[in-house]
Amino acid sequence: MIDEEGQARPAVTRRHVLGTGGAVTGTLLMAGLPRAATAAAPVQSDTEASDTSAPGALVDVTLNINGHPIPLRLDPRTTLLDALREHVALTGTKKGCDHGQCGACTVLLDGRRIDSCLTLAVMHDGQSITTIEGLTEGDALHPMQAAFVQHDGFQCGYCTSGQICSAVGMLAESQAGMPSYVTEDLSVPHPALTDAEIRERMSGNICRCAAYPNIVAAIKQAGGVGA
């Protein structure tokens, strides 16, 4: 693998990491962290940024990924998605449409779900990013991951990491009382999470295999909704 400065660095693949387990990047990949840690406030970075360099000049940025501060030197064009996949070798986050239409690239930014394809990594210096790899606690699956497995909330699996990250963010939004387009009474502080609410709130995640009924069931279980 060649980085932007033309220097070779060890190729770290997911398979390699999973096989060796204890490698530094492996620790990053497999690291679980308390989900509360992802809600940390953004660090106010020095705003004296490099605006004098030539287009394409590399910019230093530190992303707090799954609880680990990761310093990176990036072309400003690098999306958060490409930074995660191509520079940090966290390939759990998927590139689907790359235009904010499919949700496969959903990650949590300071605990809130976003499409990582439509933001630049350099815009998030010091902020916390949680990817699908960061949802696990040690070897234990996150309850949302376990529920997707139990309810068969996927077929091909390509959209799944985005679906799961989105669902985790969605439950937090619901618990914070945020309404949706199908909320009948906006004055209700905490609208109930009905099937219709879940479907509307998850409409930014497309599943080509149409596993939607099982995705809804998984989310209801993980969210403790219904019986």
């Binding site: 287009p55 949700g103 439509l118 630049l120 963010g169 387009y181 509307e200």
Partner: protein, 326 residues
């Protein structure tokens, strides 16, 4: 994406000053700009990031309205208890737009500047006067199902895609800006977006080097508020027609009415004569017909979008029926 340099703004005035330089763009949520940059429809050489500026507060104003910072995210604005209680039409419009992930990023100021989704604006192999002035308009005789039936010109029939702006229009919002000298200006939402005329490449009346800092809402108008969006699927799609209405009725008598529509024109569309036709009128089919006729005065289809005219007529009537139901 073309290469560019990047800086974080240190103040709103500084961002405004830098944005006046050639080929420089402000980046806020980035959900529209980065999409366009990937397609090389937007090719800035310099980006000014305003995400670290203190522009994300929602504050009560002395007259009983709200001042919404330009960087308030669409999701936060929709969820704000004051907006939910007093400006339901705005909350509903915001929640009708995009997806939750995008609303968590998209900002109030950015939404006002959202560019058209006309398929020819997006297709860099086709003529488009908005993207490349003087190249022609492929939509006039092309696939124009999503395009405007009101307010277009022989050079451009692009529709404004925003839901939020339609609610802002019906609420008489005011756009606050700052320039490079730190001088502020207030632009009524009615005057913010432009019709294409002979300069379809210019979407708004913002001047070069002018930055949106806030949007101010006057106290909520009396009456019920509704936002109804008609689209090709139930969620996460742009409007074919959307209707924002605020109507104050006592029994079957309408005291005041405001109607704005999205999906129909290059800007949120509102017609004083349509509202006049309802003021003091009885809430019935004849007054609704008079209002919709006045609203759609001058509408014309271009083939693929002919359906929008009867769809708008029926949608406005349906909303008026619902909002005046006792």
């Amino acid at each position: 994406m073309k290469a560019f340099t990047y800086q974080c703004a240190s103040s709103a005035a500084q961002a405004a000053a830098v944005s006046a330089q050639p080929n420089t763009r402000i980046i806020a949520g980035g959900t529209n700009l980065l999409d366009l940059m990937k397609l090389e429809i937007e090719t800035p050489v310099h980006l000014v990031d305003i995400n670290r500026l203190d522009l994300a507060r929602i504050e009560d104003t002395r007259d009983g309205g709200l001042r919404i910072g330009a960087m308030v995210r669409n999701s936060d604005l929709a969820a704000d208890s004051r907006v939910r209680e007093r400006y339901g039409v705005l909350s509903r419009a915001l929640l009708a737009g995009a997806s939750a992930q995008l609303r968590n990023k998209a900002t109030t100021g950015g939404n006002l500047l959202q560019r058209t989704r006309c398929s020819y604006f997006y297709d860099i192999t086709k003529p488009c006067n908005k993207r490349m002035p003087g190249s022609g308009c492929a939509a006039l005789a092309g696939l124009n199902r999503m395009n405007a039936v009101l307010g277009g010109s022989d050079q451009c029939i692009a529709a404004n895609p925003s839901d939020m702006s339609v609610a802002m229009r019906v609420l008489d919002a005011r756009v606050e800006t700052v320039d490079a000298a730190g001088k502020s200006r207030v632009i009524p939402i009615a005057d913010f977006h432009r019709l294409p005329g002979t300069t379809p490449q210019i979407d708004t009346n913002l001047r070069p080097g002018e930055l949106i800092t806030a949007v101010t809402l006057p106290p909520p108008p009396p009456g019920r508020q509704i936002y109804r969006k008609i689209r090709d699927r139930a969620s996460y799609a742009f409007a074919l027609v959307s209707v924002a209405a605020v109507v104050d009725a006592v029994g079957s008598r309408i005291r005041s009415a405001r109607i704005a529509c999205g999906g129909l024109a290059p800007k949120p569309w509102r017609v004083a004569q349509a509202e006049a036709a309802l003021t003091g009128a009885s809430a019935d089919t004849s007054s609704f017909d008079a209002a919709t006729t006045a609203f759609l005065e001058g509408a014309r289809g271009y083939g693929g979008n002919d359906f929008k005219i009867p769809l708008a007529r029926r949608s406005i009537s349906a909303v008026l029926t619902q909002i005046t139901r006792t």
